[in-house]
């Protein structure tokens, strides 16, 4: 099976590394952690911030150990700093 592209929307401090959005290729049946790994390869300078990011799908956080479902867009959420 071919790798499939997944679009990643980025916020705040992440844009310095990836712009507003970027695309990574992942194997079928990958988990969300594979997306983080692909982003680290894309820009190794982002490794530190990526280690504290979460991923949201349809406005809910997902566990990195979960298998990616059919969605083609993920939201990469850096640590909160509101207030």
């Amino acid at each position: 099976m071919e790798k499939r592209p997944i679009k990643i929307k980025c916020f705040a401090g992440l844009r310095k590394f990836f712009g507003n959005e970027t695309t990574v290729l992942v194997e079928p049946d990958s988990n969300y952690a594979k997306v983080i790994e692909a982003l680290q390869l894309l820009n190794p300078e982002a490794t530190e911030i990526l280690s504290s990011c979460r991923i949201a799908v349809n406005e809910d956080f997902v566990q990195l150990s979960e298998t990616i479902k059919q969605e083609d867009t993920l939201f990469l959420i850096p640590p909160s700093s509101g207030g």
């Binding site: 916020f11 705040a12 401090g13 280690s51 504290s52 979460r54 949201a56 406005e59 809910d60 956080f61 566990q63 990195l64 150990s65 939201f75 959420i77 850096p78 640590p79 909160s80 700093s81 509101g82 207030g83």
Partner: protein
């Protein structure tokens, strides 16, 4: 971005927060205690002079999460009312960045719930602070050093309040 309107956003706004208006409208016959917290923009952080802040959010998710935090807090602390509004866009020094108002029968619940809500909003909701300094540089703020996916909080560090 100032003046941009957010459709269906109850808890986020690009315009000034009028906490006196929220407070005045916050009356409930069962409430003997109303607590209002206003998080305001300081002119300094970690020894550096701050000129202003800009806030960004993953808007639909942040709005939804604040609503969920309020619903949960109302049940947990037996509140009669709870509200939270967070600014987006540019906020000047002494401007209100976030307001939390809680109303309960007695002050303990109102205080405890208010602290609970602001802590959760700061630590968990996808809102980000961009600090601008007097020397012309800027940085994205970090309230939280959490690294686990489950995001269980272990805050030993000083937070910016």
């Amino acid at each position: 971005m100032v003046g941009k309107t957010l459709k269906h956003m109850k808890h986020l706004q690009y315009t000034d927060i009028s906490y006196s208006k929220i407070f005045d409208e916050f009356r409930h016959p069962n409430s003997g205690a109303v607590v209002l917290f206003s998080g305001e923009v300081r002119n300094n952080n970690k020894g550096r002079e701050v000129t202003h802040l800009e806030y960004e959010a993953y808007e639909p998710m942040a709005d939804k999460m604040i609503e969920e935090i309020l619903v949960e807090a109302k049940s947990r602390f037996k509140l009669n009312q709870a509200e939270c509004v967070h600014r987006l866009g540019k906020v000047e020094i002494s401007g209100c960045a976030v307001v939390v108002v809680t109303g309960a029968g007695h002050r303990k619940e109102a205080y405890d719930a208010n602290r609970y809500i602001i802590d959760k909003v700061k630590n968990e909701v996808p809102i980000w602070k961009h600090e601008f300094f007097a020397d012309g540089t800027s940085e994205w703020g970090q309230n939280c050093d959490c690294v686990t996916n489950e995001h269980e909080h272990r805050h030993h560090h000083e937070r910016n309040e």
